[in-house]
């Protein structure tokens, strides 16, 4: 019962996050490119209910901030005018899925004030908006690549398991080669041989291809193991005794088992693959500015002054924690369900 609870929490969390990423244009108050050069490294904007004079208001509002104090990056609130938080207000134009375009945003404040929920970066771009857009790259590339890897793994693993012999040997040797290289090394090495300066959509596909190529080894091994194990079972032998073809065995007996194992493995590997994208982009070999990904957003945090003074620049990495935990929970539940079935 407790497990079911965890499962539904994790599933809902992931659905919400991914939906928000998909609808980033609408959910985010600003475009990922919108800059405010006068306000670099703005800290997270505070939402107020009580104004400077101590008067209480029923609707949350923000004050405009402006640089002040000794250094360039210290900000003071300007108590002169309140900017209430508004819903469905008009702002930067965007398209969702390349299909719908619009300019209404879920929430925001009127210009010239800005609402940086999670702070702003060096060019005064809203960190929250960029994280949503970045999730489109990081989360979706991870999930797509994991799907690619699972399908590759299913294909190679079941061929190796069903045919056995020399085909099995060949498949497994190739898999071993892929697995033998430390993950980040093979990721970078394979990445190295693909073009670096390309447009964002091509880059996205490149990243998915590289990640998927590097990750199919483990599911292939796993699926092969499951198929080999299942072939030893009496019910598969019995079906052979009824004159079943290889295709029938695969379809009715072996694939359903392998599929379950592969799905579980996929849930395990998605966060690892997401991390792979983050690392590639972090090291400057992935998605490049101005298109955000959690990786290239983090790259800014490598600068010492950013790391010491602007903690919110680490948020893209922190965001990986709940996402990973949710996928882990999903994998745990799938895994234990798999075990109880067999």
């Amino acid at each position: 019962m407790r497990q079911r609870h965890v499962f539904s929490w994790a599933a809902w969390f992931l659905v919400t996050v991914n939906a928000a990423a998909l609808l980033a244009g609408f959910v985010a108050p600003y475009n990922y490119e919108t800059q405010d050069r006068l306000r670099p490294y703005a800290p997270p904007t505070r939402l107020h209910l009580v104004d400077c004079e101590g008067k209480f208001h029923f609707w949350p509002f923000v004050y405009m901030t402006r640089p002040g104090g000794e250094s360039l990056t210290e900000y003071q609130e300007d108590c002169g005018q309140r900017f209430p938080v508004r819903f469905f207000l008009s702002g930067d134009g965007y398209t969702v899925l390349g299909l719908f375009s619009g300019h209404r945003h879920l929430f925001g404040v009127d210009l010239p004030a800005r609402m940086y929920l999670l702070g702003g970066d060096g060019l005064g771009r809203d960190q929250f908006s960029r994280m949503l857009y970045g999730a489109q790259v990081s989360l979706f590339a991870g999930a797509l690549a994991a799907l690619l890897a699972m399908m590759g793994g299913l294909l190679v693993g079941s061929i190796a398991g069903v045919y056995g012999g020399a085909i099995d040997d060949l498949c497994m040797r190739v898999t071993e080669v892929i697995i033998a290289v430390p993950p980040f090394y093979v990721l970078l090495a394979v990445r190295a041989f693909l073009p670096l300066q390309v447009s964002a959509p091509v880059m996205f596909l490149e990243i998915v291809a590289v990640l998927g190529f590097v990750a199919w080894g483990r599911p292939a091994r796993l699926v092969r193991g499951v198929v080999l194990g299942a072939r030893e079972r009496s019910f598969v032998l019995a079906a052979q005794g009824f004159g079943a073809s290889r295709a029938y065995l695969l379809r009715r007996h072996l694939m359903p088992l392998a599929m379950n194992a592969a799905l579980t493995q996929m849930a395990v590997s998605i966060p690892q693959i997401i991390l792979g994208e983050v690392v590639i982009s972090f090291l400057g070999l992935g998605m490049s500015e101005p298109v955000p990904s959690w990786g290239n957003m983090l790259a800014q945090a490598q600068q010492y002054h950013v790391l010491t003074a602007h903690w919110w620049m680490l948020l893209p990495a922190l965001a990986l924690v709940p996402v990973t935990l949710a996928y882990q929970a999903l994998a745990d539940v799938l895994g234990s369900r798999l075990q109880s079935r067999i």
Partner: protein
């Protein structure tokens, strides 16, 4: 150490009152033991008898408080003067092994695969007594000699996988007895051994009991196993003790459950309308001509191979409608023969001829597998399981196939209402029925049964056998029965072939087994005799 027994109540060793064990699965509470009482004096022994699932093993583990953490125990277990259920962990640890010792079902699994035998026994000794290295060696060697292992030095250095099944069980017994416990609990100690080894181990337990004045609780589903060992027996059913008396008294009760446990063959006969109907001699349906098979085996964890001769020039034939029993110790090649006949292995030389034609693999020969656990795909429903051969052959339309499946369910004694239940929800006996129905759906002429009832208890075996005979008569099936147990043999088999080390060493009628002079046959017969209660054989 435990107190001197003479100071406590004379002779009283173990007292159990109102022992209850519950398991909690999620929110459901399942009672494994309910209000069990028993008493045992020094040197006395008690058999515990019951069908599988009757709570026998829970009793064994509850006495030592070795139950899994989701179990709760209540009642009283008093060993000498210690209340075991409320004892502190330290006291309990001191009693385990030194006061009460347990030998469990699988000797192969009860010994640690990566530690030498000597060290495993030595660790038990050191847990209870302070001994130096030399004393430890001597004591361990002595314990091994005591259980009839003649080369203790070699055994001490050996790892479990280097020993035979019988040697492993002996080593496990030595481990249990090295600290001289007063009570030995043997939880189905014979079930995983072949018949001949079972008899040897039983003999050993009898000698040790006499020599060491051991009290013993011997758990089994087969009264024959302990009839020579125990004065009294406790009969268990659904977690309750239903009777506790001497074997002679029990033999006279009219309770069908107890009678079924004590005299499974008699129970089988009671329900069989035409006992031992021997079919008329017909044309030979299957002929096996000089079949040989060698195996290139891979050892676990390795890629290297070595050859094992499994079958050497086997010749045999089975007449249409008759049943041939192939018996032998494990490793005699009988299962390989079964797989060759069923077409899962192809022989290296020789040929197998079915109804005049060379046979490879066809639905005409169907096999019932030894392992009920993996015989059915756990995701399939009962109806899907049975109609699978029809689905593969694409016989008729789906509706008709479904109807045929339901008919077959009824025929093998399963309620057709269960058609949509997934197969993993069926019990062992029911699964074997499903497997039988599935084999029948393929429309076979020859049925190969590879130790089909080995996982079932005797009463259930009798039921299944009855069903099998009915089905055989109705479908005019020819059967090949593979096994190592001689019980029931004369009721269904017309011929018996005895195999040993890949060869046929004897070919006879079941009645002829008793008078055989072939050593391998004698071994099987003697073992079988020792395992079954005297008087059972008289029925035949």
């Amino acid at each position: 150490m435990t107190p001197n027994p003479t100071q406590s109540t004379p002779r009283q060793l173990l007292r159990v009152r109102d022992l209850c064990v519950d398991y909690r699965f999620a929110s459901v509470k399942v009672a494994a033991l309910q209000n069990v009482d028993l008493e045992l004096g020094e040197g006395e022994s008690l058999g515990v008898l019951g069908e599988s699932g009757s709570g026998k093993s829970s009793l064994a583990h509850a006495l030592l408080r070795l139950l899994p953490s989701d179990a709760s125990v209540s009642g009283l277990v008093q060993f000498r003067e210690t209340d075991l259920l409320n004892a502190r962990a330290k006291t309990l640890r001191e009693i385990r092994g030194a006061g009460i010792a347990l030998i469990s079902q699988e000797p192969a699994l009860a010994l640690n695969p990566v530690l030498p035998i000597g060290r495993q026994i030595g660790d038990v000794l050191r847990a209870h007594e302070s001994v130096n290295r030399r004393q430890e060696r001597d004591r361990v060697a002595g314990a091994l000699r005591e259980v009839g292992l003649t080369e203790p030095e070699r055994i001490m250095r050996a790892y479990p996988h280097q020993l035979s099944g019988g040697q492993r069980q002996r080593a496990a017994i030595a481990q249990a007895l090295v600290c001289r416990p007063a009570l030995l609990i043997a939880d189905e100690p014979l079930s995983s051994l072949d018949t001949a080894t079972q008899a040897e181990v039983l003999e050993l337990l009898r000698t040790l009991k006499a020599e060491l004045n051991l009290a013993m609780i011997f758990i089994s589903h087969n009264a024959g196993a302990f009839s020579s060992l125990c004065e009294r027996a406790l009969v268990m059913r659904n977690g309750r003790a239903v009777a506790c008396a001497s074997l002679e008294e029990l033999a006279e009760t009219a309770d069908p459950y107890i009678r079924g446990l004590l005299f499974p063959e008699a129970a089988f006969l009671d329900g069989c309308k035409t006992p031992a109907s021997q079919p008329q001699a017909g044309r030979p349906l299957l002929e096996v001509r000089s079949v040989s098979k060698r195996f290139m085996q891979r050892r676990a964890l390795s890629r290297s191979k070595f050859a094992v001769q499994a079958l050497e020039h086997i010749d045999l034939s089975v007449d249409e409608g008759a049943t041939l029993a192939v018996i032998g110790r494990s490793g005699s090649g009988k299962s390989t023969l079964a797989r060759c006949i069923a077409g899962f292995e192809s022989p290296d030389s020789g040929e197998i001829v079915l109804a005049g034609r060379k046979h490879e693999s066809s639905p005409q020969v169907q096999m019932i597998f030894q392992d009920v656990g993996t015989a059915l795909n756990p995701r399939f429903t009962a109806a899907e399981v049975i109609s699978e051969p029809l689905d593969i052959a694409r016989k008729n339309d789906p509706l008709e196939r479904r109807k045929r499946a339901l008919d077959l369910m009824e025929e093998v004694g399963l309620d057709p209402d269960w058609q949509a239940r997934p197969s993993h929800q069926f019990s062992g006996g029911q699964r074997q029925r499903l497997a039988l129905a599935r084999a029948l759906a393929a429309g076979p002429k020859l049925l190969v049964l590879d130790e089909p009832f080995s996982g079932l208890d005797l009463a259930l075996q009798a039921q299944m056998l009855r069903l099998l005979l009915e089905v055989q008569a109705r479908h005019r099936l020819t059967c090949i029965w593979i096994g190592h147990d001689l019980s029931f043999l004369s009721y269904f088999a017309r011929d018996v072939v005895v195999m040993d080390q890949g060869r046929v060493v004897e070919h006879t009628a079941p009645q002829g087994l008793r008078s055989s002079t072939v050593p391998a046959t004698r071994l099987l017969v003697e073992a079988s005799d020792r395992l079954h209660a005297p008087g059972v054989e008289a029925v035949s």
